[in-house]
Symmetry: C2
Subunit: 192 residues, 2 copies
């Protein structure tokens, strides 16, 4: 069966988030300069991979001199557009019934493009439809359902039960086969 195109994240982008978190911590400790292997030590990503990722996002350093922490953070912020403001709406159980009709008004006024959905499973699709009608282009979805959306709307699913079960799965399997055959099925959640 042919499939409509899905937008999938490049792992490299996920790792850029990781590097940034790490760099802000290092900066706090007074570190001013890092090398690809510094980030490797801190994040568990190979130094090769660090450089490859930087290469992909056009981040360059100094041969022999490594990378300037401030500069690196700055470039990453630019990648994430952190230097711009972004309004977003959060739709939770509290305001579900009453204020759904005001949604479009608010979204229009504040030019909101991103929404967080934290409503019960049963209402999630309805809320989503409303949001898309109002021009929302990105959704973080805490409801444990697959939202139906047009191709130009991105949905980022967060399902805490899955996170938990995946860990239980791992722990159980490791106990059972202790490093032998099933290891390739093991789980680490977010893969960096």
């Amino acid at each position: 069966m042919k499939q409509f195109t899905k937008h999938t994240v490049k792992n490299s982008l996920k790792r850029i988030f990781l590097y940034r978190a790490c760099l802000t911590r290092l900066k706090l400790l007074g570190v001013e300069k890092v090398y690809s292997y510094t980030l490797s030590d801190e994040t568990g990503v190979t130094s090769d991979q660090v450089r490859k990722d930087f290469s992909e996002f056009g981040i360059t350093g100094n041969k022999r001199g490594g990378y300037d922490v401030d500069e690196l953070i700055d470039k990453m912020e630019k990648i994430f557009h952190r230097n711009k403001d972004h309004n977003l709406v959060l739709i939770g159980m509290g305001n579900l019934g009453t204020s759904l009709s005001r949604l479009k008004e608010i979204i229009d006024r504040f030019r909101v493009k991103v929404a967080i959905i934290a409503v019960p499973e049963i209402s999630a699709q309805e809320v989503t439809d409303e949001l898309i009608q109002s021009g929302i282009k990105g959704i973080i979805n805490f409801a444990p359902v697959l939202l139906k959306t047009p191709a130009d709307v991105i949905v980022n699913n967060v399902n805490l039960c899955d996170e938990l079960e995946s860990v239980i799965y791992y722990v159980h399997n490791q106990m059972k086969s202790e490093g032998t055959k099933n290891l390739d099925l093991l789980y680490r959640g977010t893969k960096y």
Copy 2:
């Protein structure tokens, strides 16, 4: 730089979670039988991929007859070990100071193997060390730091800021280049 082995989830396992969620919903609606394309429609995963995943986990159906929903759910529960009880500890800000010393006692008594860490960044590593000392083998970490753990302990990181930023990144980039060259950098969070 050579890297120690990391445990990474097979995407197929993540998708099994997705299928299960979908199947329980269908069951609620009275559906008794599904085909690979049913699950494809519901989840957005191709039907080829569905069958390939089932094949990997030893799940079989009936040629021409599809899959029995109950049987499928049952097999998946077995994969996740849902039919067994699993105790877990949740360490939040509230009980951080006072009860940390009782942790080992509790973990021992209830044979806990999985912990959820929801403490501030600054305490996360300390708590982790304590947990590992007490025999914890799986951790879900809400603190935005990379925890240092032995190779046989699994850590599943959940970072809500990252989830948010990835969506903002996507929305911004799509606005700018509307479906042209940067599309391969787009983000969909959890990749199914």
